[in-house]
């Protein structure tokens, strides 16, 4: 008996010792990584943004610290016993236990919550809503990537071959592979600075802007038509696209780039270019179907502007807040309409003419015109042939009526009311323009200009991170935050948070929002220059290359696949800027809508312009590019989902554009590749990949040549269809 008692006492002593040990040595509970996931998974469906049962929400901090409708308080910091939440999740009573009708929380989850309450129930805002912090002065991309690799027992891959690097960086910075001459120039340059010189040349190329505008056009939901039923054509809107290309080419600082697109019209004495930039938000759709209510579709356009602005600059998906408070992020229903109020005061109203419009030159048109004017003045003699010729050129540069943003005068401004459950006919309380509370308050005016300035104010924790992440994804195929469009609690966490912060700070502070500086740092890094070879170890440990132990590898974009085939074959028309063009597409594809427009295939070289200039009709985008995953541009799209289908093979094998490219490549191979068939074939392969094929590949191609009775066209067709050509690597 005594023995048992002794054992009991010892046990109690031991147990409490264990208790003391575990609790005092327990690391501090971190709200974001340990508590928030439990709440999101188990509680927010009923106590979140949409439903706030019993008046309780865990999204808005103050609500869980004060008594709910029951009179009980969910969380009493430091006091587990008084916290109703703990009582509910640990109860045996089926009437009381939370969550109802679901498996109870695990022991571990309960312990975590208890400990968290005991430690004072400290809430912490989501990582993305806190300002980025610089970890170290000596940081670099490679520093952060390598540190993580070491943690995971990996290390950098070897450097990619010069040929691979040349092709990679050319496609990345300009969307085009190098020409034969450019390739030779780099491959024979043995200096240490050869690569940097190459990068600098590419950054200065006029094709740089074309590549990066292509990314922005998906975000701007740019198209050459209005959308909806009739999908009337917008034949002058290409000037906005040219504004974009021009802006990237001239490295317009990203803060200015933002302000001009969102509110160029509200700047003091805005230039024509700044007005033109506002066409960004006039890319919303216009519904010209008979019998539709213009106000309904004006509202739809304003809603689209709110959603697009927040997706593009804040990586925040707030479409759901149109109808109710955000289910997982702390954004209230009312706050959506406060943002709506910023955009609710423009003169456009779903008119089928797309007014208001302004007569504008594109920036390159304007410069060209000014140049011609100078030349005319220099010639002086207005009767000379030279003058007459120049005059013709001068007259040929015509402005167009482009739809732009225009604020209504103060005496006719609109009142903004909350739409109950998102229904535009059910008006609730009146609200005024304001930024949401989960982000730093705005110090600026309550108009679009103020909103734009607030976005690029150094205090906004999201903008720089979100934008840097977009550029990163274009280069590496994955974002540091995989969900480019969602930095909220439902989006993925950054794979390298410190790296993201480092780049965000560097972009906005050191580089003063220079996109070219940012891109240069990325492509100069060791991380970027690695070989993309996938070993078995990589595949097991990091199939999708989130850790970056190897170089990027992904399928090229629709535009790049087209542009590359035209470049390799020598067909590419390198003209920069200008109206949209119509390359060949099969008959009948555009037979979508009665009486509106027809596809008239361009001749004389315009059919060989880069993909970015292809006329983009929303109800029927260019079919071969659709097959390679371009969006229809009806709404903002941050990420194209890459697929791999047999229909893509049919495009690169049989589409007349690719057939013509193969034929021309064959001619080049014969004419420029030397005497011997073997050399000609190697030359064709070199044009595509900047290197000679290995022996096996070489034999396969030569074999095909002989098996097809000497068809160089089919050999060229094969080259343009190779995985290594279709892929970035």
């Amino acid at each position: 008996m005594k023995k048992i008692a002794t054992i009991s006492i010892i046990s109690i002593f031991l147990l409490s010792g264990v208790w003391w040990w575990t609790h005092s040595h327990q690391e501090k509970i971190d709200f974001n990584t340990q508590v928030r996931p439990i709440l999101n998974k188990n509680c927010l469906a009923c106590h979140g943004g949409v439903k706030q049962q019993s008046g309780l929400s865990f999204l808005f901090i103050e609500e869980s610290f004060s008594p709910a409708k029951s009179g009980k308080t969910a969380i009493v910091p430091g006091n587990v016993r008084k916290s109703e939440m703990i009582h509910r999740i640990t109860s045996d009573d089926p009437e009381i236990i939370m969550p109802p009708d679901k498996p109870p929380l695990s022991e571990k989850e309960i312990e975590t919550l208890k400990l968290w309450v005991r430690q004072g129930a400290k809430f912490d805002s989501h990582w993305a809503y806190k300002s980025p912090k610089l970890e170290s002065e000596n940081a670099s991309i490679d520093f952060f990537v390598e540190r993580k690799l070491t943690e995971e027992g990996l290390s950098f891959s070897e450097k990619a071959s010069r040929s691979t690097l040349l092709r990679r960086v050319s496609l990345d910075l300009t969307g085009l592979p190098p020409t034969y001459e450019e390739a030779q120039a780099f491959l024979t340059d043995q200096s240490d600075l050869a690569y940097e010189k190459l990068v600098d040349r590419l950054l200065q190329s006029p094709h740089f802007g074309e590549k990066w505008a292509a990314m922005w056009l998906d975000l701007a939901r740019y198209a050459d038509s209005q959308g909806y039923q009739k999908d009337l054509l917008r034949k002058e809107i290409w000037r906005y696209r040219d504004w974009l290309i021009h802006a990237f080419n001239n490295d317009l600082p990203f803060d200015q780039f933002t302000i001009e697109q969102l509110a160029g019209d509200l700047l003091e004495a805005p230039t024509d270019d700044q007005i033109l930039a506002t066409a960004f938000h006039r890319n919303t759709m216009t519904n010209d179907e008979g019998g539709t209510d213009d106000e309904e579709y004006r509202v739809a356009a304003v809603i689209d502007r709110v959603n697009t602005t927040f997706e593009v600059w804040q990586g925040t998906t707030i479409a759901c807040v149109q109808c109710h408070s955000h289910p997982y992020d702390p954004i209230r229903h009312q706050e959506y309409y406060e943002l709506y109020a910023y955009f609710n005061n423009t003169a456009d109203a779903d008119f089928s003419s797309d007014i208001p419009k302004t007569l504008l030159f594109s920036p390159p048109q304007r410069t060209h015109r000014e140049q011609l004017q100078l030349e005319l003045e220099e010639i002086g003699d207005s009767l000379s042939i030279e003058y007459q010729q120049k005059m013709k050129d001068f007259i040929a540069v015509q402005p167009g009526q482009v739809q732009i943003m225009k604020e209504l005068p103060p005496d006719s401004s609109r009142v903004t009311r909350i739409f109950e459950r998102g229904n535009w006919l059910a008006h609730g309380d009146t609200v005024f323009a304001d930024t949401p509370d989960f982000l730093p308050a705005s110090q600026y005016g309550r108009d679009r200009l103020g909103l734009a300035k607030w976005l690029v104010d150094g205090n906004n924790p999201l903008t720089s991170r979100v934008i840097v992440n977009r550029f990163w994804e274009q280069i590496f195929g994955n974002g540091i935050v995989y969900t480019l469009e969602d930095f909220g609690t439902q989006g993925r966490k950054p794979t390298h948070p410190k790296l993201l912060d480092y780049l965000a700070i560097k972009f906005q502070d050191d580089y003063q929002w220079s996109v070219k500086d940012l891109l240069k740092e990325i492509v100069m890094s060791q991380t970027y220059q690695q070989s993309s070879k996938i070993t078995e170890e990589f595949y097991k440990k990091d199939r999708y290359n989130y850790l970056l132990a190897r170089g990027p590898r992904y399928r090229l974009s629709a535009e790049a696949i087209r542009d590359q085939a035209l470049t390799i074959s020598g067909l590419l028309n390198r003209d920069v800027y200008g109206p949209s063009v119509m390359p060949p597409q099969p008959d009948g594809v555009w037979n979508v809508i009665r009486h509106v427009g027809s596809w008239q295939t361009d001749q004389g070289g315009d059919q060989h312009r880069r993909g970015i200039y292809t006329f983009w009709r929303r109800v029927s985008p260019y079919p071969s590019m659709m097959t390679f995953d371009v969006p229809s541009r009806e709404v903002c799209v941050s990420r194209r989902i890459r697929t791999n289908t047999p229909l893509q093979a049919m495009v690169t094998l049989n589409d007349p554009v690719f057939v013509e490219a193969a034929e021309h490549l064959a001619v080049r191979m014969r004419e420029e590749g030397g005497e011997k068939i073997e050399d000609q074939i190697n030359y064709g392969y070199f044009l595509a990949l900047m290197k000679e094929p290995d022996e096996i590949k070489h034999h396969e191609l030569v074999d095909l040549y002989h098996k097809t009775n000497g068809s160089m066209e089919l050999v060229a067709n094969v080259i343009l269809n190779l995985d290594e050509v279709i892929m970035m690597h």
Partner: protein
């Protein structure tokens, strides 16, 4: 494969596939077309339908001239519309007080069921016992593009996946060598909603509907360029794949293996697509049954093609026939003009499709759905406040008729009822989301479970609505 086998396979692989889809961007392309028959979140019930044929009458045919017989409306013909039908309502074109418009054609009873059908449908009158009429359909939208989008994507605006995309995303494809979601378009041009009606929205683009065209290449770029024979194509594809295999040895990327597979599939499709679309090869009695004329762009040809695709286990076959918008504003858009033409174009062919599917046993597991995006008003359309020159009706979302058959849908049945003049449903109304839920249910999918995470929330075809119409299911 029987439905039961398919079901068992789905159950087994559903969890695997789900995990796979979430985690991978690699090799996804194979799934839709490779017949990896793997279910998504499956119903605890055995599916009844393996495939769907949806006959969409774009532009919205008048139910009052075809199926919804309203003698009382005849008595009101020409009289001003009562205020109660106008107050608080929104119409596309009607302004002020329009006149009522009686049924323009006579009706009689047909079949064992004695179903009232218009004189305009001599062929369809013979199959009334084989279908289920839904007389009290209703929708939220009363303009074409939004209403068509609503019908096919569950939302009135652009950007959501089509029903066929959802279905192939959820169930995969049954045929290795044909697309899982095929679209056939006839009539003067494509429907108002454009290609978004069969777009994959935020789902990967491999799930978008593939249009089989009546003229030119049936699938874009399926045919080799001039001078390239099948043998030469075989040699080029072999060369591509051999070099890609070598590249795989060097680069180690499994995506390369997926690409090799896609080129093999493309080569197969170059055979199977022309073969499947070759309606010429059908016997004479079949052409007579459908009223087909090979070489033309017609609804009849597309109905026959739909049957051939159903035989080849294409999962979702979507037909559009356009030109039903009978406002009365011109002859083409009037009940005695264009409307009559459209009825002639569809009557024989859609009846033939039901007969033909039935005689081949395909109706057992093929769900057929027919209807427009909304209905027409019992009032005559009067844009600008004046009655139109021709007889016609305005858009009307509150009541219209659809029919369904096959794959466990009760036949010889009329479900739902409208009021005396066919203005609104008074009994057993079915909303578009209910229809969608029911179609998915027959395919063995719980419409609340088939979701996709996009822009921060889980989307589904039926948004946050929809109830399965259990009364019409056997």
């Amino acid at each position: 494969m029987t439905l039961k086998e398919e079901y068992n396979q789905r159950i087994h692989s559903s969890m695997k596939r789900r995990a796979f889809l979430r985690s991978t961007s690699l090799g996804l392309g194979g799934i839709a077309l490779s017949g990896l028959l793997t279910g998504f979140k499956v119903n605890p019930y055995l599916p009844k339908a393996k495939r769907v044929i949806f006959l969409h009458m774009a532009g919205a045919p008048s139910q009052l001239e075809l199926f919804d017989y309203k003698p009382a409306l005849q008595e009101l013909d020409g009289k001003p519309c009562p205020d109660s039908l106008l107050k608080g309502k929104r119409f596309a074109f009607i302004q002020g007080v329009p006149d009522m418009l009686g049924p323009q054609f006579s009706f009689s009873r047909h079949g064992q069921t004695g179903t009232w059908v218009s004189e305009l449908l001599p062929h369809f009158s013979k199959v009334v016992d084989d279908v289920c009429f839904l007389k009290a359909m209703h929708t939220d939208e009363f303009n074409h593009a939004p209403a068509q989008l609503f019908m096919h994507t569950g939302g009135p605006r652009l950007g959501r996946p089509a029903m066929g995309s959802w279905v192939t995303y959820g169930l995969g494809s049954l045929n290795q060598n044909l697309p899982g979601f095929v679209v056939l378009v006839s009539g003067e041009s494509a429907p108002s909603g454009g290609k978004s009606l069969w777009g994959s929205g935020f789902l990967p683009s491999e799930y978008q509907g593939v249009e089989l065209r009546s003229k030119g290449d049936p699938v874009l770029y399926v045919n080799n360029p001039e001078g390239v024979t099948r043998d030469l194509r075989k040699k080029t594809i072999d060369a591509i794949n051999n070099i890609n295999r070598q590249e795989y040895q060097e680069a180690g990327d499994p995506e390369i293996l997926a690409r090799i597979k896609q080129y093999e599939l493309a080569f197969k499709m170059q055979m199977t697509v022309p073969e499947a679309t070759d309606i010429d090869s059908e016997p004479e009695y079949i052409h007579k049954l459908y009223g087909t004329e090979p070489g033309k762009v017609s609804f009849a040809n597309n109905c026959l093609l739909a049957r051939r695709l159903a035989e080849r286990d294409v999962r979702f076959i979507q037909l559009y026939h356009r030109g039903w918008d009978s406002h009365g504003s011109n002859e083409f858009e009037s009940l005695h003009g264009g409307f009559l033409e459209r009825v002639k174009e569809v009557d024989q062919a859609m009846s033939a499709l039901v007969i033909d599917l039935k005689q081949r046993g395909l109706l057992e597991d093929t769900l057929v759905v027919w209807g427009g995006e909304f209905g027409r008003t019992p009032m005559q359309e009067n844009r600008g406040g004046v009655s139109n020159k021709f007889k016609g009706r305005d858009h009307h979302g509150e009541a219209f008729t659809m029919w369904m058959t096959g794959a466990g849908i009760k036949t010889g049945m009329t479900y739902g009822e409208t009021d005396e003049i066919g203005y609104a449903g008074v009994k057993d109304r079915i909303h578009i989301h209910d229809l969608q839920a029911t179609i998915l249910q027959q395919l063995g999918i719980d419409h609340e479970k088939l979701t996709y995470h996009f822009q921060g929330r889980d989307f589904r075809l039926t948004d946050v609505h929809g109830h399965v119409v259990k009364d019409i299911i056997t």
